[in-house]
Amino acid sequence: MHTESLGAIFVNALLINNFVLSAFLGICPFLGVSNKLDTASRMGMAVTFVMFVSSVCAFAVNELLVWINAPYLQLISYIVIIASAVQLVEMFIKKFSPALFRALGIFLPLITTNCAILGLALFQTAKGYSFVESLVYAIGAGAGFTLAIVLMAGIREELELTTVPDVIKGTAIVLIIAGILSMTFMGFAGLA
């Protein structure tokens, strides 16, 4: 039983409890794919789409599992759903935009191991969201991930133009920047 409005759910996932910067989901692609602005935005869009599809299927499967009283199958079924959703999105993109498919390359199948997607499915079940609430949550989460990764990509592209000390190059500086971003996002607490 919640009192959360749909708008609140969306803003929550996007800003207040940003999926990447507060909930620590999707860190691997966030660190790995955020060096170029357009790959980052494409990754964000692909992830949002996969989240949307997975959210719907996860909701349906959970209803089924509750009905047959087999909660221990939840994790396995969610993984299967996500892997299938990624396959689906892959075929879809390949058919309708081969250029995008080539640009995303290996990252597309790697979305399967993106904890943000599984995290989304698990969280929406744990929170007991209804169908519509889950959809809004998924879109908010995808948007939040895209926002975080695009922000990071923009910053990293600027970093390319400056001199960075050797010791801090690579993952170290990305993490420290992420920390600063995370702190700034905490400012959104007032929206709650």
Partner: protein, 212 residues
Amino acid sequence: MSKTGPVTLDQSKGMDEFLKGLWNENPVFVQVLGMCPVLAVTNTVTNSLVMGVATSFVLVMSAIIVSATRNFIPKQVRIATYILFIATFVTMADYIIKAVSLSAHRSLGAFISLIVVNCIILGRAEAFSSRNKISDSIMDALGMGIGFTLAILMLGIVRETLGSGTFAGFPIFGSSFEPWVIMVLPGGAFFVLGFLLLAINAFNKRNMSGGT
């Protein structure tokens, strides 16, 4: 795989596989894999420990079963079956943790289940256990698991002592200690890991330029 260099006994090769996970190929600091739980559950020492143990459990069990079945599983369905196995062990770990300690389960929340998408596990299964015999695979998995646990414990210790002034729940500073709350917040997690990596880079650089 052919053996190169001086003749090594099986045990010493096993030890190599074990040791590499601790430092040279440490999954957190060198391979930078499995980041999500590293940042999320290291806010207390206890959480880090439980997560480390759970991950090691899944690593070792998956290593055993992947290695044992490596000659029977057709190439095309390999990844799918590995994921199925890993998901099974993660679910088992989830229920076991819930039975042993409700509070630990509640603190870790969904991140226990998220072990299944921890790239370390699938990575080791694919890169090592599927091509080596069981005993070596177990050593590899144990090394990676312990390396992972040590790494996140390091993070957990820093974050909890500075962020809450406690160690595994026991207050260690006096009551006048004003904790750096940022440490237990998401930002702190990023910072601590970033600075740890920085320190390790600096350490490596010094070694490399100091040596040959």
